[in-house]
């Protein structure tokens, strides 16, 4: 198999549909969605949206993750957040017909459904159920943005920020299939490089490396390639002030 996940081209048969805010639609709307979307599989590093580009349409992330980033005044990339499967990307640009405000780049092999800008606008106008789902997605996105704004008011140290990031990833642990593990151990798959973690928390790669090394020495995390284990969640929680 060329890809490490099954490609789902038929939205009506997608088994994840009910878990995804935007995709859990009545049959009639799903049939329409099926007729207007184009399914593509992208390699790691593919650019779905470019900051400043006119909105060509929206992407529904089916499988995989993508980083949403902007550029600092110094020309450095800053990761604003990580998009997870089920998320609709490029929404505000498409709804307001203004340029994409951030760049979206895949972090791993990703399947996404693209809906062109005119088709998307017609789709939400014709089907109130779709605009209801979009409203739900937007309320969620607003909530996340306000939470992020609140965190700006707190002077967290880099170790706190990295601990917070690890704890957020721990909310989506890997399904463990190997030998018996310690009950408190949480396995996570990390798709970000240390450089990208640095772009996320606003520091240098060297500092991320030093902090992770410190966490490892203390026995709070184990790192084996892209699979990390959080071995002392309580210690990380104690570090986080919010």
């Amino acid at each position: 198999m060329a890809y490490n996940f099954p490609i789902i081209e038929d939205c009506l048969r997608c088994t994840f549909r009910e878990q995804r805010v935007f995709c859990d639609l009545p049959r009639e709307a799903l049939v329409k969605l099926q007729s207007i979307k184009a399914t593509s599989v992208y390699p790691k590093g593919a650019m779905l949206c470019l900051e400043g580009q006119s909105p060509r349409g929206i992407y529904v992330l089916c499988t995989g993750k993508a980083k949403i980033s902007t550029t600092s005044s110094e020309g450095k990339s800053i990761i604003l957040r990580i998009a997870e499967p089920g998320e609709v990307l490029g929404l505000t640009a498409a709804l307001s017909n203004t340029p994409y405000e951030a760049t979206v780049e895949t972090l791993e092999q990703t399947q996404a459904n693209f809906i062109s800008h005119p088709d998307f606008l017609r789709f939400i106008q014709e089907y109130p159920e779709v605009s209801m789902k979009v409203a739900k997605q937007l309320t969620h996105n607003c909530q996340c943005a306000y939470a992020e704004i609140r965190s700006l008011g707190l002077s967290n140290s880099v170790p706190e920020k990295i601990a917070k990031l690890l704890l957020s990833w721990a909310e989506h642990p890997l399904k463990y299939t190997g030998p018996q593990k310690k009950s408190q151990e949480i396995a996570i798959r990390v798709t970000l490089t240390q450089e990208e973690i640095a772009q996320f928390v606003g520091t240098s790669r060297e500092t991320v490396s030093r902090v992770l090394g410190d966490f490892r020495k203390k026995g709070w995390v184990q790192i084996k390639g892209a699979t990390w284990s959080i071995t002392n969640k309580r210690a990380l929680e104690n570090l986080v002030t919010t």
Binding site: S72, T92, S131, T139, C142, I149, G153
Partner: protein, 156 residues
């Protein structure tokens, strides 16, 4: 009740005359003095608020600090996200001067929304604008503060 003389607002501009009339049955006019709160952070709003005149400040409180998202003027709608999500408000809205408002009880608004799901398109437009403002604030913060080494935060 709202009248045709009410100034346009970001929600009503996308609604049909029939829905506007239906909402108008529950609308009440009121005023808030300078410094008064239109929306309180952490409180589930009981009313949807439409700002007809005056200027307000939108802030996000965070552990004793207050971050100002910006100001808004006539035509802006408040508390929509919290009402639609059935949650407490994330933001606080304070009158910078005497403001005149139209308020709609949250329950009545939600009832009209349930009866007229086509209203969601108008809701989406308002929420999208709110998200754009919040995201723009975050990007601005991220861009302005240089990447630091050591423990200094870029975003603080």
């Amino acid at each position: 009740m709202t009248t045709t003389s009410d100034p346009p607002n970001e929600l009503y501009s996308s609604l049909s005359p029939g829905v506007r009339q239906e909402l108008g049955k529950f609308a009440q006019a009121t005023t808030v003095a300078q410094g008064g709160k239109l929306v309180r952070h952490g409180v589930r709003p009981e009313q949807l608020i439409i700002l007809n005149s005056g200027k307000v400040e939108i802030t996000v409180p965070a552990e004793g600090k207050t971050l100002t998202l910006g100001t808004a003027g006539p035509g802006k709608v408040f508390a929509l996200r919290a009402i639609v999500a059935g949650e407490a408000s994330e933001v606080e809205v304070t009158a910078l001067e005497k403001c005149s408002l139209t308020v709609l009880p949250a329950e009545e608004f939600l009832n009209v929304l349930r009866r007229n799901p086509e209203m969601y398109l108008a809701v989406v437009k308002v929420l999208s604008g709110d998200l754009k403002k919040a995201d723009s604030f975050l990007r601005q913060k991220a861009r302005n503060v240089p990447l630091a080494s050591g423990s200094r935060s870029r975003r603080s």
